[in-house]
């Protein structure tokens, strides 16, 4: 009798344990922030090789991509499949951009945080109350099961995102930048991908012999120094705050420009304040999903730039006030 009771108790404990584990797994899989955290690791640590379609302004570009992470070092290679055959080779933080048509190589430094698919900021800068994040549905991308996550802004001052995360690895198989009208402004999607397969070193080697190429170092493009500034926006869109302030010397002159970076944790807007010069203008411009607006404030030329709607850069630029 006592044996039977012990057996029943053991089964009950086992059942409770199983239910608790199942509940935890269920909670994890239904929590979008858990998926985003996993994505942060996946874009850096997952090895992959595939073909990416980059769509912007109605134009599509196919890219072959290779990414490995070993001994703490990121290695990447990107080859444009059309146009001038641009090739990007990354080894750790050093990046070589090979331009075969110009027989040139640009050398750049990329920081540790940035990978080819780090669309969203790291956890330290995770967005706050200006967005809702939710899991929309299961879907299929590049032949793999995916969960579609939606990042929806609360107002028209910022863009949203739709991200299809691989169910198995949390790697972003497809990402859309969503405008205020609900349409995709930019999109990156894999047409085909191999995840966590062994990648031979030769796959990361340059396709071109750069023996007679000219080499350019882009690392000294801008000279910067940290400063404090009294320039503020009198009507900053809700949720944006100052992240950094520094002075920056542009490459076409000796003048230092004050550069203030605002962020809501996801969207970033840079404000550049320069002395007004002959020919400076007011107005807007855009490059893909990025917008800029220039305003003349007193004897200064103020330009706001960011991957945000045009209304956001216009409001920020036109409400900047001198100390």
């Amino acid at each position: 009798m006592q044996f039977l009771r012990r057996q029943t108790l053991a089964r009950l404990i086992l059942l409770i344990g199983l239910l608790a584990g199942f509940a935890t797994a269920l909670a994890d899989s239904s929590d979008p922030s858990v998926w985003l955290d996993r994505m942060g690791d996946a874009v850096k640590k997952t090895s992959y090789e595939g073909t990416v379609i980059r769509i912007r302004d109605g134009e599509a570009e196919a890219l072959k991509v290779v990414h490995t992470f070993a001994d703490g070092v990121i290695r990447e290679k990107v080859i444009a499949q059309e146009g001038n055959g641009l090739e990007i080779i990354r080894n750790g933080n050093e990046v070589h951009c090979i331009l075969p048509d110009r027989k040139s190589v640009l050398v750049e430094e990329w920081d540790d945080q940035s990978t080819l698919f780090s669309t969203l900021p790291s956890r330290d800068f995770r967005f706050g109350s200006e967005y809702d994040v939710s899991i929309v549905r299961e879907d299929r991308v590049a032949g793999r099961q995916a969960n579609l996550l939606a990042v929806r802004p609360h107002d028209g001052y910022r863009y949203g995102y739709r991200i299809w995360l691989d169910t198995e690895t949390s790697f972003p198989l497809q990402t859309q930048l969503i405008g205020t009208d609900g349409a995709a402004i930019e999109q990156i999607k894999f047409a085909e991908i191999s995840l966590n397969q062994e990648i031979h070193a030769s796959a990361l080697a340059p396709s071109y012999s750069t023996e007679n190429y000219r080499w350019f170092n882009q690392s000294n493009l801008h000279v910067t120094r940290s400063v404090e500034t009294g320039w503020v926006s009198s009507n900053l869109p809700q949720g944006f705050r100052v992240i950094s302030t520094h002075e920056e010397r542009m490459t076409d002159g000796d003048q230092f420009v004050t550069h203030i970076l605002y962020s809501d944790g996801l969207a970033n807007v840079s404000v550049f304040v320069a002395q007004l010069e002959e020919g400076d203008s007011q107005g807007e411009s855009n490059v893909g999903g990025s917008n800029a607006y220039s305003a003349i404030v007193g004897d200064h030329h103020v330009t706001a730039v960011g991957k945000v709607p045009a209304i956001t850069v216009e409001q920020i630029a036109t409400t900047m006030r001198a100390p």
Binding site: D57, G58, A62, S118, R214, S281
Partner: protein, 193 residues
């Protein structure tokens, strides 16, 4: 896979007509067709794909001399009984334009301001912007913003490519410069690493 067949020019006429009518009422569907057309071009490296040709045929057949601008304007409006017969073709024209051309960066200048950008072409009306090269200062602002935002991890391949394309513009064409003098704002390395 109806869209895929349509883009490949393999969808039967009656089904293609039905799809075109649905596109007139379904923005998501229009978006998906545009995406398929763009992907098809990218993967095959083609200037034209069968689906685009088909759309052109439809536009030509159904709306003889109607200005393209009118068609595009119609595509953005909710379908009414009066415009419904044209809606499919009108939207298709928008899709075709998206697939074939694609907008480049655009700039519009506030004409009310007396101080205008030297050499720039001002916008002719409030709803239209004129594609033109970026001002050098603005180009540097875009690049600087991209680099700074990257420090916070909120950047990806799209931003990288924008920066790289802009960097390319600073380089001189070897054909124009056989002496291999470095571009003004870059530092040439005498030897390879």
């Amino acid at each position: 896979m109806q869209i895929s067949a349509f883009v490949d020019g393999e969808l039967p006429d009656n089904e293609a007509d039905l799809l075109l009518r649905r596109m007139g009422q379904d923005a998501e569907l229009r978006h998906r067709v545009a995406e398929y057309l763009a992907i098809g071009r990218a993967l095959r490296g083609e200037i034209s794909v069968p689906g685009v040709d088909r759309i052109h045929e439809r536009v030509s057949a159904e709306i003889d001399d109607k200005p393209l601008e009118d068609l595009i304007a119609t595509a953005g409006s909710p379908p009414t009984s009066a415009i419904r017969p044209l809606a499919g073709a009108a939207v298709a024209a928008t899709v075709a334009l998206l697939a074939i051309f694609g907008l480049q960066q655009t700039t519009s200048v506030d004409e009310s301001d007396a101080k205008t950008l030297a050499g720039s072409v001002a916008a002719t009306d409030a709803g239209y912007t004129v594609p033109q090269p970026l001002d050098e200062q603005l180009r540097q602002y875009y690049m600087s913003h991209g680099a700074t935002a990257t420090e916070f991890g909120a950047n990806g391949i799209n931003s990288r490519f924008v920066s790289l394309r802009m960097s390319e513009e600073t380089l001189q064409d070897p054909a124009d410069d056989e002496e291999t003098a470095p571009a003004e704002d870059t530092e040439e390395q005498p030897t390879q690493p």
